[in-house]
């Protein structure tokens, strides 16, 4: 009886143990694989993965939000509201309803709304809905027809 029980208990424990490490070992790649494969498998929609060099989610200042202060982030910032302050970001988008008043230091700057102040950026994109009164130092510029731009433009790589 004891033998059978003792022989049974290790059997069950083995039976219990053998699937559990298998399931845990199987589940851990399963958990990893969706996270790695899920982000590209969103179909056409990639949530701002291209905008940032790192995969930090973009911060959004929504419509009708008024923020006074400075922002510093290694990721992306999307302004649809109003921001008064200095920014240090990797990628900045001023949306069509967005307003920014201040100084910006960033890599990619996309302006569709209003911007007043100064900026140093690498890639500058100004869309047709933009209204800008600023001093901007850029490396590469694209300006769509219809945009209003007053102020100064300086090319970082310009040599007299």
């Amino acid at each position: 009886m004891f033998n059978t029980k003792s022989s049974n208990t290790p059997d069950t424990s083995k039976g219990m143990q053998s699937p559990s490490p298998f399931s845990s070992s199987a589940s851990s790649p399963r958990e990893d694989s969706p996270t790695t494969s899920a982000s590209p498998s969103f179909g056409g929609y990639k949530p701002n993965m291209d905008l940032t060099s790192n995969s930090i989610k973009p911060s959004v200042i929504s419509e009708e939000v008024v923020l006074t202060g400075n922002i510093k982030t290694p990721g992306a910032l999307h302004i649809e509201g109003t921001v008064i302050g200095d920014l240090e970001v990797t990628s900045l988008v001023i949306g069509p309803t967005g307003t920014l008043q201040g100084n910006v230091n960033c890599s990619a700057l996309n302006i569709r709304g209003k911007f007043k102040g100064a900026s140093t950026c690498k890639e500058l994109t100004i869309s047709s809905s933009a209204q800008i009164d600023a001093k901007i130092t850029y490396e590469e510029i694209t300006l769509q027809r219809g945009a209003g731009l007053r102020g100064e433009l300086h090319a970082a790589n310009y040599v007299e």
């Binding site: 209003g148 731009l149 100064e152 433009l153 090319a155």
Partner: protein, 137 residues
Amino acid sequence: MNETEQNSGNIVIGNDVTVKGVLHVPNRAIVNGAVDGEITAKELVVGQTGRIVGHAKTERADIYGQINQTLDVSQSLILRSTGKIVGVIQYTEIEIEKGGLVEGKLTQQQSAPAPAPPPPVVVSAPEPKDSSADEEI
């Protein structure tokens, strides 16, 4: 623009040609050489090898080359990817292609002289749309 208009009042400044002075061009000026001075034209095209140093005034500008000092465009300015403008720019409507270089001040004029949108076409003959308009009223 009819043919006689197209064929009169134009100037083409070829490659390696240097012009110094004041130019008044009633129609189109195509600059592939160098202009040192003042140029006024209805339409100004600066080719890739073109270069203007001085004051350029035009209604429409298409810039593939270089302009130094001042550019005054009363209608539309297009700066192409090879274009380079250094100085003061006055414009009403501007477009800059990727690669174009601007170094200097920009001022936007009022777009008042821009052509007004065409008036709605008055249809004398009654149309089925009129009934829907009546319903809305």
